[in-house]
Every structure is written in C-alpha cells, then in structure tokens.
C-alpha cells in the first residue's frame, strides 16, 4: 500500500479546532503527457480522499490532475471525543490506501 504521512495532534481539548495534514505517495500522472514517440500516457491519479472521525465523515475532496504529485491536503475539524480518525484515498486503476490516527480528547 502507498506510504502516507499524517499529522493529527495526539491530544486536544473538547471543542478545539485542530488542523490535520495528510501526505500520500502517488505520482498523479495527469493523462496529458505523451511519451517520446507520441503515445499518450494514461491518467493515473488519486480521485477521492475521505476522512472520517469515529466513522462519521468529516471531510472529503475530489482531486483532479491539477493536484501535484504526492498529494498534500490540510484541513480542519473540531475535536469532539477521543477515538480514531480514518483516512482513505481512492483513485484510478483501483488505487486504495488507508491510514488512521488516534486522538485523545479531554
């Protein structure tokens, strides 16, 4: 599975707005490039990203070829209760990657 780097604060206060940073390894081949002999290189990108907090979706995004390789996405959410934040990336050619982080909310 592709490598991913997640930055979720390990602890937060209830109601605190926290920043979550995600970085996934993926070439994001645009589909607009051609080989030297003119053969088009097919698109191969991450198309969707979803983050869930204890099973409930808190953020999602649809990605296009204009997103740079190794997609980096930062978003915010409110720390509600302790639990697990899950991340899932899906894309062309059946690409799937998941990652999770635990958070303690006091």
């Amino acid at each position: 599975m592709a490598s991913a780097l997640i930055n979720v604060p390990p602890k937060a206060k209830r109601g605190e707005i926290i920043a979550i940073k995600t970085l996934i390894s993926h070439q994001m081949e645009t589909g607009f490039r051609h080989s030297e002999t003119g053969v088009p290189i097919p698109r191969d990108i991450v198309t969707h990203f979803v983050a869930s907090y204890n099973g409930e979706e808190i953020f999602s995004a649809q990605l296009f070829p204009a997103i740079a390789a190794n997609p980096f996405i930062t978003f915010y959410t409110i720390a509600t209760v302790s639990g697990t934040i899950e991340f899932k990336w899906t894309g062309d050619n059946g690409f799937v990657a998941t990652e999770q982080a635990k958070i303690i909310v006091e």
Partner: protein, 162 residues
C-alpha cells in the same frame, strides 16, 4: 526583480525543440507534449457546471498562493472562507479552478458544521502564469469567490526527465 513571463508559445518551442534535439541522444522515457490548454471560457464553463446558473459573489474567500512561483509542478495553495461554521451558517464546499491547465478543475472539497475552520491547503500544478479561482459554496445556497494571478517562472536550464 526580473520576472520573465513565459507565455505558452515559448514553452511549446522549448519542449518541441528538446524532443527533436534529443531524439538521437539519450532515450527519454517520457516527455511532456504541450497540448492545447484550457481557456478562460473553459474555466467559466467548469465553474457553471459546479455552481449552476447562480450569481457568483466576490468576497469572503481568500486564496493564498505565492505570486511568483519557483516551479509550477508544486504550488502551495491555501483557500480560506470567512464563516462562523455553525450548523446554520457554514461552508458546504470549496472548489478551485484554473485558467490555463489542460483541465480547469483543481479540487472540490466538502466541508460541514464539524469542520470548525473553512480552510484547506494543498499543492497544485500550474502550467503557466494564469488566474486561479476559488469558490466557497455556502449552506444557504450562495456562492462566493476570490481570484488571484500567479506568475510561473522556469529555471534557466530546463530539466529533462531522465
């Protein structure tokens, strides 16, 4: 500071020339071919596709993007929307568009009352100096926007993919 504006024609020249000049030399597995780019009309069509036939207000949205970019392959871009982010008044989505890449869409993010702060940051690709537009879709059905001009410079010694 000298900020050369590289227009599309010059980019095509360099890359076409590279391809020809190096055909006999090192075999390059992949080479970018400069295709027809999107136009501002394509971007407007893509925006209309997302927001429908609704008024697009200017304001409340702020794009942070370096005005002069070292490399168009990876451009940091942050979009923030002013909003209390309560259950009644929140940003439903943020959409980003560009003017000159082969495709006008960049990212569409779905937010909600749990988001806390309506702000996303990512890294985008920009083929050429152009305008980037960000739209905030509000829970009340209104749309707000910001647009910025970005200058993309290229290094003096154009790299090949080897």
């Amino acid at each position: 500071m000298h900020q050369p504006q590289r227009n599309s024609n010059r980019l095509a020249t360099r890359r076409d020339t590279l391809r020809g000049a190096l055909a006999a030399g090192a075999a390059l597995p992949i080479l970018s071919l400069h295709r027809a780019t999107a136009t501002p009309a394509d971007m407007r069509a893509a925006i209309a596709n997302v927001i429908g036939d609704v008024k697009l207000n200017v304001g409340r949205v702020k794009i942070e993007i370096p005005p002069l970019v070292e490399n168009g392959n990876t451009v940091p871009c942050t979009v923030s929307v002013e909003s209390p982010m309560t259950t009644e008044d929140y940003v439903k989505a943020i959409h980003v568009f560009n003017e000159k890449n082969p495709q006008p869409n960049v990212i569409s993010a779905r937010l909600g009352p749990r988001t806390g702060r309506a702000s996303i940051a990512t890294r985008i690709r920009l083929t050429d100096s152009q305008t980037v537009v960000a739209i905030g879709e509000m829970a009340d059905g209104s749309f707000w926007s910001d647009s910025v001009s970005v200058i993309i410079t290229l290094g003096a010694c154009l790299e090949n993919l080897i």
